[in-house]
Every structure is written in C-alpha cells, then in structure tokens.
C-alpha cells in the first residue's frame, strides 16, 4: 500500500478495475441525462451514445446520373463499375468512402458517404423539459414520423407537491425529536429507560407493519390525500432514527453548559432553544439531509397516503413509467428533474450526510 508509485502490472489491473467501476456507476445516469436533451424522434432512431464524438458515414455529396444511362447495364461512376444491384447495396470504393444508389432505378442519383468524425452535432433541445413540466396537452413526433398528442404530466406541480411534503416532513420530526432527545438525555421522568429501549427497537421495524392501521386512521379522520397526512406519517416513521441520532449527540454536550444556564435561571425550554439547538447543528443537519432525501425519494408512503390528488415527483414518475413506458423523452427529462434537488443537496452537504449515515442508518 505504501509502495513506490511506479508502473507495475498490479497497478494497471487496479486502475482498469476502478475505471470499469466508475463507468458502470456513471454511464447509466449519464445516458438518461443526455437522452433528456435529445429530440424525441432521434431518441428512437439511435442510441444516446451517438451524440458523442464518433466516426460515422456522412453523406458528402450527390451524383446525378445522365438521363440516357441504362440502369440494366453495368454502370460506371467516377471510374468504378458495377451492376445496379451492387450500387443499390452500396460499394465501399475506398476505406473511407462509400457510394450508394439512392432509391429505385428511376432516381438516377448516387450518394457519396465518407467516414468522418461527428460529435456534439446532434440537435439538442430543452423541449422535453417543457413538455414534461406542462399540465396541458403536448405534441411530439415519434420515430416513424407520426404526430402524437398526449396529456402533459404536470411535473412542475409534482415538484411543488414534493417540496410541500418534504420540507415540513423534514423539519417537524427534527424539532419533535430534538425536544425528546434532550428530555431522554438530561431530564428525569418516569418510564424514560423503557421508552428509550422502545425507540431503539423501533429503528428496524419495517414500515409495512404500520401502513394499514395508519391508513385506517387517516380515512376515519378524512385526511387521506392531504399534505398533513404525509407530514404525520413521515414524522412518525422518521422519529426513531431522529431521536436515536440526536440523543447520541445531545447526551455528549458538556454538562457545564447546562449547569451555568441553570444557575443563571434559565428554564429548560430556554436552555433548549438558546443552547442545545445551536450547539447541535451538525447532528441536526446530518439528520435533516438524511430525512429530506428519504422523504423526497419515498414512493411507498406517497403512493398509499397521498394517492393521485397531490402527486409527488416519485409517484408522477412511476405513473409515467406505467402509462408511457416508451416515451423516453418524457421519462428521462422527468427522471432528471426528480433527481435535481436531491443531487444538489447531496453534493452540497455530502459531509453531513456521510456523518448521518455513520451514526447508524438502520431505518425502518
């Protein structure tokens, strides 16, 4: 491991393996990213990798043959002689150049193709994003040239719904859990020990166990399909991990702080708001990112409690896969939109996220 860095077969193998891993991890997302900017008709006609620079036969010119040429005889064009059938197939006159008869015998046209480097020349468009964001009807042309009219996916509304669900469903559990973690760490009350053991036990309980009864409650209270139901559900399901993580942090805060606050006459509430919360920012941030990504990316809870009334991005995307499985221009731009915010949060605050993961991420 601490060897001199010089060339050796071992190092080469390691490098190749790492490059393969990186490709396997990056290429799938990159393909979707590229596709989301391509014209719908192009997407079906060629793979997304064709927008990358590569060598391809490019038509460079057309030769119009004289009208009196008899296509049933061997035809000589620019010094090359072959029958019509051969010309029709296309003839590679050199390594770089191919000539091919266009259409039927009457066209009297020969196209000349040359192998050339092409790249980044594909017509890229933002139209897919416009189409997927809109709530109205959209039209696009498919591979065979048909014009297709579809109901828009109203992804912009789904993004707003996702924000309306995720932001409170991230901050509310943090607030409630921070109060509880402080109580578990620094207060005396009956039943504290068994209650905390319960929190630890609930860390790994699968969500499925709670879905049916909670849905029954929401139905009884008339809450199904509302944002409030999502906040309540995500708060409840996120609390065990939140309390556990924040307890680990808050219980290690220096006791002097609390003693001097106590001597200065601060109530526990004031101590909590003005001392504990500001001092716990790293732990709060760790959990916040964890919970935000979890809520934003959640599909199961949204599917069951929110239904179709306020579709969030995951359910909007999932229903698109079901209804429009082949409309890749909509699917890819929708998928990329759904990843935009979590990826930004992830790359911006990766440090906190990793810390949250380390602290024990056995989420139910």
């Amino acid at each position: 491991m601490k060897k001199k860095k010089k060339f050796s077969p071992g190092r080469l193998v390691v490098t190749i393996v790492l490059v393969l891993f990186i490709l396997a991890w990056v290429v799938p997302s990159f393909g979707v990213f590229v596709t989301s900017f391509r014209d719908p008709a192009d997407i079906y006609a060629s793979g997304w990798w064709s927008v990358l620079p590569h060598r391809e036969n490019v038509k460079t010119r057309e030769i119009t043959l004289p009208d009196d040429l008899d296509p049933d005889q061997p035809i000589t064009i620019e010094g090359y002689t072959a029958s019509f059938a051969e010309w029709r197939e296309g003839i590679a006159v050199t390594d770089e150049k191919t000539m091919q008869w266009y259409g039927n015998k009457r066209s009297r046209r020969v196209d000349v193709f040359e192998r050339k480097w092409v790249g980044f020349g594909a017509n890229l468009t933002l139209g897919n994003y416009r189409d997927v964001l809109t709530g109205g009807t959209i039209t696009f042309t498919d591979a065979t040239g048909n014009t297709i009219t579809r109901e828009g996916n109203n992804f912009s509304s789904a993004v707003m719904n996702s924000i309306a669900v995720s932001v409170p469903a991230t901050i509310i559990p943090i607030l409630i859990a921070a109060f509880a973690a402080y109580a578990f760490a620094w207060m005396n009350f009956p039943g504290r020990k068994p209650l905390f053991v319960m929190v630890v036990a609930l860390l790994v309980v699968p969500l499925q166990i709670a879905l049916i009864p909670v849905l029954q409650d929401f139905t009884r209270w008339g809450l199904t399909g509302s944002f409030v139901s999502m906040w309540l559900a995500h708060t409840g399901f996120g609390l065990p991990l939140a309390i556990y993580l924040l307890y680990n942090y808050i219980s290690t805060l220096p006791r002097d702080v609390f003693e001097s606050a106590y001597i200065d006459g601060a109530t526990p509430f004031k101590t909590f708001v003005w001392l504990v919360l500001p001092m716990s920012v790293p732990a709060l941030a760790s959990f916040a990112i964890f919970q935000f990504l979890w809520v934003w990316n959640d599909y199961l809870v949204a599917l069951i409690f929110l239904g179709d009334r306020h579709r969030v991005v995951t359910s909007a995307l999932a229903s698109m896969i079901g209804e429009k499985g082949q409309d890749w221009h909509l699917l890819t731009s929708g998928a990329f939109l759904s990843m935009l915010l979590p990826l930004a949060v992830f790359f911006g605050l990766q440090r906190f996220f990793v810390r949250g993961l380390m602290a024990g991420s056995v989420k139910g």
Binding site: V17, N188, P213
Partner: protein, 384 residues
C-alpha cells in the same frame, strides 16, 4: 460508566431538577392575568391549527402559494404547540413541574411513536387473524396462505435471491472499492461517484435502468437504443428483453439495488478501514506479509463488526424492497417480492387480513436483527 448512562447523565446535570423555580414564558405578577394570558394563548394556538388546516384543505389555485402556506403553517404550528405546552407546564405546582416539563419535551415524540408504529404493530397483528374485510375471525388462515400460496412461495424465493445475491454483491463490491481506492489520488472523486446513486430515488433509478435494458423488438434495421442490448449486439449477440427472461430477470433487478446501495457499503467500510491503526499494518509489512495476506489476516478481521452492521442493514433493506420491483415489472414475469405482494393484497385485492399477515411475517423475519440491536445497545449503554 458501565452504569446506565441515560440515568447518570441527567442526575449529574440536574441534581435537583424539581427545585427549578423559574417562571414560564407568560408569567406575570398577578396570577389572574397569568391564567388569562395562558388561556388566550391556547385559544390562539387552537385557532391557528384549525384555521390553517381548513384553509389548506380548501385552498385552490396557486400551487406556489399553497406550498409556501403549507410549509409555514406546518412548522409554525409545531413550534407554537411546544411553546404553549411548555408555558402551561410552567404554571404547574413546583413539585410536579419538572416531570410536567419532561412530558412536554418527550411527550409528543412518544405519542407519535405509539400512534405511528407501536399501536399499528398490534393492530396489524390483530387484523392478520381476520378475513379480507376485518370482520370475521379466521385465526391462522392468513398465515397458512402466507406460507403455502404459490405466489407467496415465489415471492419468498425471490426475496431470498435479493437477500443473498444483492447483499453479498453490495458488501463485496463495497470492500473491493474501498480497498482499491484507499490512498489513491482520486479517492474522494471516485467515492463520490459511486456514492451518488444514494441520492437518487428508486423510481428514478428505475427509469435509468429501464432505459439501460430497453429492447426494441425483432426485425431488420432496428437500432437498439438500450445500452445493454447495443453492447450485446456489438459483441455479436442477440438483443433480449432482459426483464422478461425468466429467473434471470431477478438478477437484472438486483443489479439496480447493487448500483444504489454499494455506495453506502463502501462509505461505511472505507471509514472503518481508515481507522485501522497504521502501526499494525506496518508491523505486518516489516514481518514480510504480502498485501493479500494483510487484507485477509488484518483488514477483514479488523472491520468485521462494520461488515456485520452493513450486511444486516442491506439485508433488511432487500427484505423490504418494494419500489424497484413495483416500477420495473410490477412483480410480473416471476419477479414478485414479499413487499410487493403486501401492496397487491391490500390495495389491489383489498384483503387487509392477508396483507397484515404478510407484514407480520416481515416483522418476524427482522426480529433477530431487532434483538441483536437491543443487546448491542444494552452492552454499550453510553450509545457513543
């Protein structure tokens, strides 16, 4: 510190918690005014909670406005609730005040946990002994279904594939990558790339991989637009509808989970590897140990506890896995899993009894991990 840390921490800091005499937020000199002020505060809180809820339920029009309102109201109500409850608790007689304050602090969380997880577990257990409508007691019939129905058996078999192959691949790749990138120039960059899918939803990953596996069908002049088929064709193979190939399609779905979760395994394992004291490695090298020997004799044993934690986490994850299967195949073509069957039973067939039984089975399978966690917790106590 082998004692119960929860106990000692608080008694250390607030040895006389019950003597805290400080006033609440709304305390004034006159008790009548104080009570009146408190009542007004409670009334305002209730009004804001109820009013906001009604507005939110009936709100039409601007999505942005509605979202903004939802966010402000949701957060404001919770903060206000804590403030008001604390103010009420502060008016309690001195002797019970400290307990009252503790109840205000821990109460909402405990109540929510009971409502969202503890009671539902019992209610689900109860439901699992009843028929589809939840009216007729049929005892263990639902469990008989869960363990004998061919659909369930197939789901169990597939979950086993997920748990064995998905988990082991994630962990092995995680170890491999952390060891290979350790101390490399591009370590941070490579790890960030492998870790990135953790930020992507399973549904989003579903789109990404559905596109990878895309298949256009038989025929001449068809250009495959899915990368996997394009590679297969370029290598002289025949394009396939990968998600329809019996049995093996499970592995194409498992690949998605590996893609999503290897980053998690890698990050945790990598930090464990970095915490192995350099002196041990150095000593082994001085003794002439090969890299391979060091890996199997020192690295792996040192990070074994971490490997176990990561493995159990991913095991639980693959047991509960739902989104990927739901989005990619809907559980058809022999790819069904337990969590998807749970969803189908409850929401497609409307059989809450059978769905509940499946949920209970999930919980029972996870119980060993739960018990292990509790024992770990008891042995650590300090919860560091």
């Amino acid at each position: 510190m082998r004692e119960d840390a929860v106990e000692t921490a608080s008694s250390r800091i607030f040895p006389h918690t019950f003597t805290i005499q400080e006033a609440g937020m709304v305390q004034t000199d006159k008790p009548v005014l104080r009570v009146l002020g408190l009542l007004a505060l409670v009334a305002i809180t209730v009004a804001i909670l109820a009013g906001g809820f009604i507005i939110l339920q009936t709100m039409q029009g601007s999505k942005i406005l509605m979202t903004l309102f939802a966010v402000v109201w949701g957060l404001g109500s919770v903060a206000l609730l804590f403030f008001v409850m604390n103010s009420v608790a502060q008016t309690m007689p001195r002797k019970i005040r400290s307990v009252a304050v503790a109840v205000v602090f821990a109460g909402p969380a405990v109540a929510l946990l009971f409502w969202a997880l503890v009671l539902p577990t019992l209610r689900t257990l109860f439901l699992s002994f009843f028929d589809a409508t939840g009216k007729k007691f049929i005892f263990i019939d639902n469990y008989r279904f869960a363990f004998s129905d061919p659909i369930m058996l197939e789901a169990f078999k597939n979950n086993l594939l997920w748990m064995v192959f998905g988990t082991s691949t994630c962990v092995i790749l995680g170890i491999m990558i952390s060891v290979l990138v350790d101390k490399s120039k591009f370590e941070k960059f490579i790890k960030a790339l492998i870790f990135m899918p953790m930020a992507i939803s399973f549904v989003g990953a579903g789109v990404i991989w559905k596109f990878m596996y895309a298949y256009k069908g038989e025929g001449i002049n068809i250009t495959e637009i899915g990368l996997l088929n394009a590679i297969v064709v370029a290598l002289g193979g025949e394009a396939q509808a990968w998600l329809l190939v019996p049995f093996w399609n499970n592995f194409f779905l498992i690949a998605i989970m590996v893609w999503l979760q290897t980053g998690y395994a890698m990050v945790i394992i990598s930090s464990a590897i970095k915490s192995i004291p350099e002196a041990i490695m150095e000593a082994a090298r001085v003794d002439g140990a090969e890299d391979i020997t060091i890996f199997f004799r020192i690295t792996i044993p040192s990070i074994m506890p971490t490997i176990i934690t990561v493995t159990t986490t991913i095991l639980i994850f693959s047991l509960k896995l739902f989104d990927i299967v739901r989005v990619m195949t809907g559980g058809n073509y022999g790819t069904n899993v337990i969590a998807n069957e749970f969803y189908l039973r409850q929401f497609t067939y409307g059989n809450s009894g059978q769905a509940s039984a499946i949920a209970i089975v999930l919980l029972v399978v996870i119980t060993p991990v739960l018990v292990y966690n509790l024992r770990e917790f008891r042995s650590r106590r300090t919860l560091k």
